[in-house]
């Protein structure tokens, strides 16, 4: 039986091996997970410090997005240790005292040829932050950043796929012209 269909079986075995590798192994092997340098808790800052999203992730007057806050923002409250935990002490010793910026890993780094305006999407299109970023604001720990091994770009494929942008623009009747995003 095996000898009779040996060729077909080997062909199918090769196909199955490739399909398994392609669908199971490749999506995992394509990325490396890089832990954030500081285990920041959005939940604690929102609950205990009463911080709002806009306190740290601001839009400047000219509409540009300030992105991840710099150390100055952290130091305004953490000039001295807030509590006695080891994590807090490590944070103060590593970053606040030597005044060293935290090398945050970006979850969504756009390719260089892409222009994305948070102001347009938040203020004009009234998109909720969660629509793209998920419930980050309620998380207690920061997930590791996924970095593509070949291109070194960070973030999920969902964000960097132009089809996602185009589909959303099409659904909402927004322009899909090249210069809208590639300037």
């Amino acid at each position: 039986m095996f000898e009779e269909h040996r060729g077909k079986i080997l062909f199918l075995a090769g196909m199955l091996a490739a399909l398994t590798a392609g669908w199971r192994v490749f999506p995992v092997a394509r990325y490396q997970n890089v832990a954030q340098p500081v285990n920041f808790s959005h939940k604690i800052h929102a609950d205990k410090a009463g911080a709002k999203c806009e306190d740290c992730h601001t839009l400047r007057d000219d509409g540009t997005f300030a992105g991840v806050p710099t150390l100055d923002k952290c130091s305004s409250c953490h000039a001295q240790p807030m509590g006695t935990s080891a994590r807090e002490k490590q944070f103060i010793d590593h970053y606040v005292t030597p005044n060293r910026e935290i090398p945050w890993q970006l979850y969504v780094r756009q390719p260089q040829n892409v222009y994305f305006s948070h102001a347009f999407h938040v203020k004009l299109a009234h998109l909720d932050c969660r629509q793209c970023h998920g419930p980050q604001g309620e998380s207690d720990t920061l997930p590791a950043a996924r970095i593509e091994r070949i291109s070194s770009y960070s973030g999920s494929p969902h964000f960097q796929d132009m089809d996602v942008c185009e589909n959303c623009h099409r659904q909402r009747g927004a322009t899909n012209s090249c210069l809208g995003c590639h300037k």
Binding site: L10, G14, G22, C178
Partner: protein
């Protein structure tokens, strides 16, 4: 039976077919494409604070306001300045991508003497010798493509110090009151394809009827209200026929139709070769909706008026005349052409010396009166990126040739001080779109700072008289780019939406 070569091939074949049905090939394609963005040699904008800076485009005489989005110190995108009096918020395709020009491989980055690399000192010494060797019937000329700048003043000063220096420029003391014009008859001028400040033209396009008279069905002709095809070189004859039609005399039917349109849409103007007499017939000089005289233009020699075979040394910036016209004026033997240019094209390919000039955004420069403006204008174009070390601004080179220790920025400052001293006109600031009278600005230093941060000084209108001689032509029209990419950019640049 063991695992044979045939078995291996079958297994590999199956694996290959299976692989095509997985995300692997497409994912690898995408990742390597992204990787190619960070290869060595690919410019990488710095990561950092995003800032907005303002400048004025000097790529052509339109002098459009530019809003530059910079990451760190690097401009990453350029856009127009909303409400800018000349450009009305629009930029042309070239202006939109001007921040990419410094990376163009065709730019001039080192001095060349007869096609060979030279040092700046050698080039200056040899050109000085050539100037000194100028004979009694020969001249040293500078062909200034944009008269009225501080650079023009440098050129004039240098030539005044020579025994036989001639400053050549196509000075045009008239602007077009486009906002009040109701009809334009254009003899081959690309009105909708780069004439004057494109944003200004498109902003008022719906207010005037456009009659395009030219042999070719050009882009402007295709968008005109009426296209009149004529034989090549037939502009003057057709203009004469239209004049006859304006007087009510029987003439060519097409000319009669044009004359009727012009009479129905007053005030009207005519532009391009053959338009001078027609404008006098239309009474469009010194009247609202016509050609208005402005203050800034000093008289200059028309290059075409120079005797043939009389120019021993010629300095040129950008190409403003066909090379055949230039060549006719050069002495038969031993002529020296010095191209002060940023590009290895146009005159540079004919020049004996190529002196590399900085590009727009690479050095502090000046944009004089916006093309077609009815009042004099002045704005600064500050450097936003570092220039290569071996380039030198054309007026700086001429100052060096003259042995003058004054710097070009000093001369620009003197000009700004002069504007403050005159106290005329107002300054439109790009960041807040506000206009301030010059006399309300504290000092010349304050005015300099305003202009450096992005501002346009505009003179007060002059009282007009209709008897002045007129020269309105297409010399301001930059050569349009024809590539499909440029057309696409042009369509999306804001010009079509204004």
């Amino acid at each position: 039976m063991g695992f044979t070569r045939r078995d291996l091939l079958k297994f590999t074949g199956g694996a290959t077919v299976g692989l095509v049905l997985t995300p692997v090939p497409w994912g690898l394609l995408r990742d390597t494409a992204l990787l190619s963005e960070t290869w060595p040699g690919v410019p990488q904008p710095a990561r950092g604070e995003v800032r907005t800076r303002y400048t004025t485009c000097t790529l052509c005489p339109a002098a459009c306001g530019v809003r530059a989005r910079c990451v760190g110190e690097q401009p990453v995108s350029l856009a127009g300045v909303p409400e800018h009096p000349a450009s009305r918020g629009a930029l042309c395709a070239n202006g939109l991508v001007a921040h990419h020009l410094p990376f163009c491989s065709d730019r001039a980055t080192r001095p060349l003497a007869n096609g060979r690399a030279s040092t700046m000192e050698q080039a200056v010494a040899r050109i000085r010798t050539a100037v000194d060797a100028c004979g009694p019937d020969e001249s040293v000329a500078i062909l200034d493509p944009r008269p009225g700048r501080a650079a023009s003043l440098v050129y004039r000063r240098y030539l005044a110090g020579l025994a036989r220096g001639v400053y050549c420029a196509a000075s045009n003391p008239f602007g077009v009151d486009l906002e009040n014009t109701r009809a334009i008859v254009s003899f081959g001028v690309p009105v909708l394809d780069g004439w004057l400040s494109p944003g200004r033209v498109f902003a008022v396009r719906s207010h005037f009827a456009l009659i395009q008279v030219e042999p070719e069905y050009s882009r402007t002709a295709s968008l005109a209200d009426l296209w009149v095809p004529i034989v090549p070189g037939g502009e003057a004859a057709f203009a004469g026929a239209v004049e006859s039609g304006l007087r009510g005399e029987p003439t060519d039917p097409a000319a009669e139709r044009v004359a009727r349109m012009l009479l129905d849409h007053k005030p009207a103007i005519a532009i391009g070769p053959g338009a001078e007499k027609l404008n006098i017939s239309l009474g469009s000089v010194g009247k609202p909706g016509g050609f208005l005289r402005r203050r800034d233009v000093a008289p200059a020699t028309d290059f075409a008026d120079l005797p043939d075979r009389s120019v021993r040394v010629l300095f040129t910036e950008e190409a403003s005349l066909p090379w055949s016209v230039i060549e006719r004026k050069l002495v038969a033997r031993g002529a020296v052409v010095v191209a002060l240019t940023a590009w290895h094209d146009a005159y540079a390919s004919h020049a004996d010396y190529v002196i590399p000039a900085p590009l727009f955004l690479e050095s502090l420069d000046e944009a004089a009166t916006p093309a077609g403006s009815t009042v004099a204008g002045f704005s600064l174009s500050p450097a936003l990126v570092a220039a290569p070390q071996s380039v030198i601004a054309p007026p700086e080179f001429i100052l060096r040739l003259a042995g003058d220790s004054t710097t070009y920025p000093d001369i620009l400052k003197q000009r700004v001080a002069g504007l403050k001293k005159d106290g005329q006109g107002s300054v439109f600031t790009y960041a807040d779109a506000k206009s301030t009278r010059v006399r309300d600005i504290g000092s010349a230093d304050d005015l300099w700072k305003l202009l450096l941060a992005g501002a346009l000084w505009l003179d007060d209108p002059l009282p007009q008289s209709g008897s002045a001689p007129l020269r309105a032509d297409a010399s301001y029209a930059p050569a349009p780019h024809r590539s499909p990419l440029m057309s696409k950019l042009d369509q999306e640049s804001g010009l079509r939406r204004v």
